[in-house]
């Protein structure tokens, strides 16, 4: 991804944008369906690398995209297969609502580069977690 593009390249980037969003979305959905994770780890880095998002913006947008993904997946799993323990979901999920305020506020005070490196570290942890049985 180059910072300076010629006019033709700019057009190509604009045309490729919906396709890239579609690929990222589908990939994130597949990831969620396969592994049961929200998909931030797929969406955020691809927004940075393919669509030129800043790291913070990529993480914010990815987290927003996770809402419909998790809602649909949990609803299907709960309604169709009775696989959701709602009580435990509340026990795990609600405390995080408090600390996510702190986390987001802290993130705004850290340099974009550090946010990027933190996220890369998380990706390595998740990647190794998947690779090591």
């Amino acid at each position: 991804m180059h910072l300076i593009r010629g006019p033709g390249e700019e057009d190509a980037a604009v045309r490729a944008r919906p396709l890239r969003l579609a690929v990222i979305g589908t990939l994130a959905g597949a990831y969620c369906g396969l592994l049961g994770l929200g998909g931030t780890t797929v969406i955020a880095p691809l927004l940075v690398l393919w669509l030129g998002y800043g790291q913070r913006e990529a993480l914010g947008t990815a987290l927003a995209a996770v809402v419909p993904i998790a809602a649909a997946a949990a609803a299907i799993q709960g309604a169709a297969y009775d696989n959701v323990d709602l009580g435990l979901a509340v026990v795990f999920g609600v405390p995080g609502v408090v600390t996510v305020f702190v986390g987001v506020a802290l993130q705004q005070r850290i340099s974009e580069r550090v946010v990027s490196l933190m996220f890369a570290t998380v990706l390595v942890a998740v990647g190794l977690g998947l690779l090591i049985p």
Partner: protein, 145 residues
């Protein structure tokens, strides 16, 4: 129960800092402490992620870090992708999928780290523009300076 509370609090903090909504913590915890199967753990974890992601996204939006149209488009397309993902999951051995996604994560992490290392601090939409200090007033400053 205290352990669950700690995991929940930690997941929220991580979600705010790194965008990881908590599944990587919830799923193993449900399997280890509640003796859940993988599928049940994943399903319950997805429900637990929901409030954290919702509030996290709302806060990020407040800081100008969310592009709502892109997020909606990604989310809706991903819902279709979930169905495809489940179909693929049933056709391919789980280990192959873990290796594929695990390798993808490591490659992407290396790319991100490489960019962060060499790029000048990119802040296209910095959320906290520092107010410019007032221009120094010449002449009629405070006495004694």
């Amino acid at each position: 129960m205290i352990v669950y509370l700690v995991i929940g609090l930690l997941a929220g903090l991580l979600a705010g800092l790194t965008g990881l909504a908590g599944g990587m913590l919830f799923i193993p915890a449900l399997i280890v402490f509640e003796d859940f199967g993988q599928v049940e753990a994943q399903a319950t974890s997805l429900a637990a992620i929901l409030p954290v992601a919702l509030v996290g996204a709302w806060r990020q939006w407040g800081y100008g870090n969310v592009r709502p149209r892109d997020a909606l488009q990604l989310g809706l397309l991903a819902v279709g992708g979930v169905a495809g993902g489940v179909a693929v999951a049933n056709a391919i051995p789980e280990r192959a999928l873990e290796i594929t996604f695990g390798t993808l994560m490591l490659v992407v992490a290396a790319q991100l780290a490489w960019r962060a290392r060499r790029a000048p601090e990119p802040q296209p939409r910095a959320p906290e523009p520092k107010p410019r200090p007032p221009a120094p007033s010449h002449g009629r400053g405070r006495a004694g300076g």
